[in-house]
Amino acid sequence: MELSINNNQIALDDEKGRNEGESIQYIVVRLGEEQYGIDIRNIDNIVKMQRITRVPKLPAYLKGVINMRGEVIPVLSIRLKMGLEADEITKATRILIVKLEEEGNVGFIVDEVKEVVTLYEADIERISSDITAEKGNLINAVGKHNGELISLFDLAAISLEEN
């Protein structure tokens, strides 16, 4: 699976930043042109796009449920949740199975899973709480990696939100 692709990268990162504080590994995904990161400790699995069973009367961003090894898991469109245009399903589309503390496993539809990066505390910039409190905002920090910016998801915001 994609998780193993960037082992070399991880090793490099480790050596580079031993003294830069706590390090966290993030899975980097692509949504449109932007890159987003999710803490790898919250990821249960990454699966290919599959048939999603629609559940009636749900908000548009909740696409339905899938069968993951006998378990029924809700799938949501991160794009719709963030107010972006609807997902375009391609060969690269993946469902990220994310472990939420309260609600159990939930699937996120993403355009592409790119790599695993290690970010150090020093590379991460928190976004002020005024902006994060805004509805529909799921980002609470931005990480810098190799000169690129990665928006980091705030899973608490996803799980706490009244849906």
């Binding site: 048939r51 069973t53 629609r54 559940v55 009636p56 009367k57 749900l58 908000p59 909740l62 449920v65 899938i66 069968n67 006998g70 378990e71 029924v72 898991i73 809700p74 949501l76 939420l100 309260e102 609600e103 159990g104 496993n105 939930v106 849906n163």
Partner: protein, 714 residues
Amino acid sequence: MDVSQYLEIFLDETNEHLTNLNTRIMELESDPENMDTINEIFRAAHSLKGMAGTMGFKRMQNLTHDMENVFSEVRNGVIKVTSEIIDVLFQCLDALEEYKDNIQGSADEGTNDNEPIIRMLNNILNEGKGGEAPAKKSPAKEAVPAQEGASGNKWDSVVLDDSQVNVIREAQKQGKRVYGLNVAVQESCILKAARAFLVFKAVEERGEIIVSDPSAQDVEDEKFDRDFTLIILSDAELDEIITSCEAVSEIDKVVGAEIDLANNKSAKVIADEEAEAAAEAAAAEEDASKEAEKTEPAAAPAAASTAASAAPAAPAAKAEPKKQAPAKPVVNRTVRVDIEKLDSLMNLVSELIIAKNSLVSVSSQEQTDVNSAFNEQIEYLESVTTNLHESVMKVRMVPIESVVTKFPRMIRDLSKKLDKKMELYMTGEETELDRTVVDQIGDPLMHLLRNSADHGLESAEVRAQRGKPAVGSIFLDAYQEGNTVVIEVRDDGNGIDVEAVKQKAIDRGIITVEQAANMPDKEIIDLLFLPSFSTAKKVTDVSGRGVGLDVVKSMIESLSGEVEVKSKLGEGSTWTIRLPLTLAIIQALMVVVGEEKYAISLGSIQTLEDVPASEVKLVQNKEVIHLRGTVIPLIRLNEVLDVERKPVNEENLIVVIVKKGDKQAGLVIDELIGQQEIVIKSLGKYIKQCKFISGATILGDGEIALILDANTLI
């Protein structure tokens, strides 16, 4: 030795005894002269005392001891049971309950001595005896059996080998006393081995066990009938040992005496022919049992019960060469199983059923060339999985009795507190439900009963005015109906005042005046289930704190059940709780709506109908059909579920008639797939806004079908 391993048994039995006491004392109140009840209470109190003592819970022991004293006097006719005594006794039970809870929580009984209660008990005793101080219960009468004829004693027929004989002789020479002891456990005793262990323990505190017949190992494995015999060395008095053994609960009788080796047949044989000891032992065994048979009927009357139990044992010993061949215990053998283990077993069964379903779907895909043997095997597999599922479900089923037995007592207390006369009538306590449901149904039921007692039943004056009997009636009925269990709480009280509810709802801003004017009574009554809606004019500590019905509703819904209420002003109300019999696997009808598959629980389906489109009529702008004399509203599932309808057969509608209580509705579907056993999976906490989807299931091909909750559609 450590008694903590018996803590669980102790708690279970304390529970049982307390429940029993509660019920019996209720009985006693209505029938104060009933000797059976009094005896039963006495026995239960006595057992509690014994158990608490053995486990080292002194405060609990003291309290039960005083309770027992009171009952002993009641039994002797010295004290008459009055309402005050009953009150005090109930306070005792509450205190004991508290001890039990403490022990359950921390393995410690706590520090509350409950002196006021003990004082009250002693007052009762003193009054009953005309000021006499409560006499200590004398253990003397229990020692009487020790006087029985020596030759009839069981320990004299115990087979001793020469080393044991030597030990006894040595001990007697040294001036130690050697006792024979026969301990009989009660016939109803379930954990004989545990009791025996406690007896062994009690004896070992005071002396040394030389011989046990049957052997200690057999006793531990419960390989004994009702009694066992010990030969012990001790410095203590015989009475003391006997008393300590009798303190163990469920011990029927302990008899004992000092041993005279001359009376022991096998010991004599050993003495006479020491050289042939080994060979003789076998013969002696037979002789001994013969002797037992001969002498037992002649034994003193005091030993009657011992003899009675020994009588069947003796012929058995003759028939088989081995003496310790106890009859299999007649009581049900049970094993305690962690509910989590059952859950995982249940999950495995679910998996198995899913796997079976996929086999079924594979076989139906290739109908043409699949051989019949394959189909046969699938059918076989199907019957096995169905049976397996049923057995696992049954293991989890328990009667609701354990929950409802505490209610009569609660109603009695409420009756006093609210100063209203009322009586609770219960039926169907034996109705069984899944363990997890039973564990959680107690609180909602309690709320409903309290509600009936407080809001439902009128005060005595109002009842008299209305020509109702002075004593209000509350009914709790449980029964099974198809795939559901129904529990009804009914009262003959005031019923729900729809106008009062309406006014309150308007005051609270829940509905507007205009809305209220157009709302049917039923919907207004349903407002009661909204959070923070309490119509009690007075806030009492019984109800009226604004928590209650909404909690009841949400608790029952969390068990996949539902609650509804019917009420007639002035005549009373009926609260009906419906709970699914099983939580995990159901029989369902698979249907197609648009392109999607849905499952409808077979339990809620009444019939399937083919209805010509021309027979659909409009009533108040809603579609209905006329079916065998009833008008049934139609629900077009494609509209409810936002599905595009396939332009199929417009002439005929396929209608699934579903029912909920006495209401019916017709669900219009596009296609029928058939009946299937499905495993219910939760949609997860993330999806909760879709009311009429109660879950999902995984089909044989891995696809997900949603389960329609027909109840919410009606």
